[in-house]
């Protein structure tokens, strides 16, 4: 087997709440409590679970947005959780994050070309704006948008279009790992299908690895190679997609799968 691109070993992220008159004593919240998984190059691993299970905290810890309590995370063999912000900076290009809310994750004051162009300069991928604009135009076409939109501001776009721009902002840096936290959850079904197809196609074409965080088992089945089911900070079951969906071993996985309302197509035979 090939060396995994990302290996997470016994990751723990605990939070301490403050003591207050209303909520009582200080508490220790074990948001992520001993999570381990591997992502191979070019593979998609989904973390699925209900709200509060710690799936988003895993993603945020891996991008240094939260501090890990213990455990290790190796990216191409190097533990990056212990890196200082300066050491981690070069890795930020290679580990990118797509967020849920397309309305909050684009700066409303910046034109699209600034939003997409800035990271290119920061990471030294471009020297001139002409170069940057050429790259942006290609990228916008790849995500199904007219290159002319780079002169416009985020408020001029719908949710689905903004999420395409968010994906373009990530993919233009040619990352090796994309962490997508509920990337299609805020979209209407017909738009969600478009964006999901786009994400899957870009992933397959570029061979980027992906950690896909979602509560929606249908979406997870559509995009993943591997699935990890999280419950109360722990992974209760992890395996290849087919195994999880067709032969779930853990009681909680079965409960999740059974709870999904399904469309009954066709007449039932009486």
């Amino acid at each position: 087997m090939t060396e995994p691109l990302l290996r997470v070993i016994d990751l723990k992220t605990h939070f301490r709440t403050k003591a207050s008159w209303m909520f009582g004593e200080k508490q220790l919240i074990k948001a992520v409590d001993g999570v381990s998984f591997d992502i191979a190059p070019g593979e998609v691993l989904s973390l699925v679970g209900e709200s509060g299970c710690g799936k988003s905290t895993v993603g945020r810890t891996l991008t240094h947005l939260e501090q890990a309590t213990s455990g290790r995370a190796l990216f191409e063999g190097r533990d990056f959780l212990v890196m200082s912000p300066n050491e981690f900076r070069p890795l930020r290009r290679e580990i990118q994050m797509i967020f849920q809310d397309p309305f909050a994750s684009l700066n409303p004051r910046l034109k699209i070309e600034q939003t997409l162009g800035e990271p290119l300069f920061i990471h030294g991928l471009c020297k001139t704006w002409d170069e940057a604009r050429a790259k942006i135009a290609v990228m916008l076409e790849t995500v199904g948008m007219d290159p002319l939109v780079m002169k416009r501001h985020p408020h001029e776009f719908s949710g689905g279009q903004r999420q395409r721009i968010g994906i373009a902002r990530v993919m233009i840096l040619k990352p090796k790992l994309v962490i997508a936290d509920e990337a299609v959850s805020a979209l209407d079904v017909s738009i969600q299908a478009q964006v999901l197809n786009l994400l899957k196609k870009l992933q397959q074409d570029s061979g980027v690895s992906m950690l896909f965080i979602s509560h929606d088992l249908g979406v997870v089945r559509h995009i993943s190679d591997q699935v990890a089911v999280m419950h109360e900070g722990k992974i209760v079951e992890i395996g290849r997609k087919r195994q999880i969906f067709e032969a779930p071993q853990h009681e909680y996985t079965r409960k999740l799968l059974e709870s999904i309302p399904r469309v009954k197509i066709g007449k039932e035979v009486a």
Binding site: V189, S190, H222, V263, I265
Partner: protein
């Protein structure tokens, strides 16, 4: 005559001095013990329709511009404020999507339920409190006699939604309108809340209008379905008949867009384009820019409601045809 009859409902929004139609010619009816599902994507007008029935479209920006709504023989649109207040929360109640924001955070949940009961029924505070405890146990809140004194922040999202249901049921309504009641909840909790609603319906014979964007929820809980797109009902039928044969290309597209948990597909059949915004002027069928079956006719004439099969109506010039 059905319990709730909505006929040719028209709602318009005033922006920049222009009246833009947001709901056009919507008609449906719901009877006792029956659940009607209204399904559609954001902006299709499903929530506005619910608010119109509840009389919550006040002000000058959003207005009912036509049609009528009859409940139990009364014309809801011509009621005085006093008459309306005596019906709402009493014989007709509504559950909203956000259990976080629809409860008052500074009052105990019991007091909020008691307030509604005493508004409509002659009861002492103690009697109403007993009734509140009874309602909380009905919606399966554990330890109801203690939880009646809880504040909303002490409860989980699912529990809060149950409190909302308890409050809506406090005066034994004949009609319950639920606007995305489970959208903010986890799937396992969603199942519990939907089962609870179905159970209460069989016991009390309540009519329910369930508004949702989730075809799975609709398919599992409703007796009949109205599919809305951009302000119009484009397809309506009994649930079983609708899913047996989807007649409108939009309904088919919506169903094909959903990634399902029970099988694998390589690519989803997404509907191209997006729902047109209100400001965009449309001629003909509102779905024609995204439709695979589009012809010149679709761009110029609005399809009328036609009977596709008995009890199955559709608004499409080419209903039932499938794209080549």
């Amino acid at each position: 005559m059905a319990l709730l009859e909505v006929q040719d409902l028209e709602i318009a929004v005033r922006t920049k001095g222009k009246l833009l139609p947001v709901v056009q010619g919507v008609s449906f009816d719901v009877d006792d013990n029956e659940t009607l599902g209204i399904v559609g994507e954001s902006g299709c007008g499903k929530s506005l329709t619910a608010l119109a029935i509840m009389g919550l479209l006040g002000g000058t920006t959003v207005r009912i511009t036509g049609g009528n709504i009859r409940f139990d023989g009364m014309d809801l649109l011509t009621l005085s404020d006093g008459e309306r207040r005596s019906i709402m929360g009493n014989r007709m109640a509504m559950i909203f999507q956000e259990p976080m924001t629809s409860l008052n955070p500074v009052y105990r949940i019991g007091d909020q339920i008691i307030e509604n009961i005493r508004q409509h029924q002659k009861m002492t505070n103690a009697q109403a409190r007993d009734r509140a405890v009874e309602l909380l146990s009905l919606v399966r809140i554990p330890n109801p006699s203690e939880r009646v004194d809880s504040f909303p922040h002490q409860m989980s999202g699912g529990q809060r939604q149950r409190v909302m249901i308890a409050m809506a049921l406090s005066c034994d309504p004949k009609l319950l309108i639920a606007d995305e009641p489970t959208t903010a909840l986890d799937v396992t909790v969603q199942k519990e809340v939907l089962d609870l609603m179905a159970d209460l319906q069989t016991r009390m014979g309540t009519a329910i209008v369930l508004i949702s964007h989730d075809l799975g929820v609709i398919s599992e809980t409703c007796d009949k379905v109205a599919v809305m797109y951009r302000g119009r009902v484009v397809e309506a039928a009994a649930t079983e008949n609708l899913f047996a044969e989807l007649a409108h290309p939009y309904t088919r597209g919506l169903l094909n867009s959903i990634p399902v948990v029970d099988s694998d597909v390589d690519w989803l059949e997404a509907i191209p384009g997006r729902v047109p915004t209100l400001e965009e002027e449309l001629t003909g069928c509102a779905f024609h820019p995204r439709c695979a079956l589009v012809t010149k006719l679709c761009a110029t004439s609005v399809p009328q409601e036609t009977e596709y099969k008995p009890g199955h109506s559709v608004r499409c010039h080419f209903s039932g045809k499938v794209a080549p």
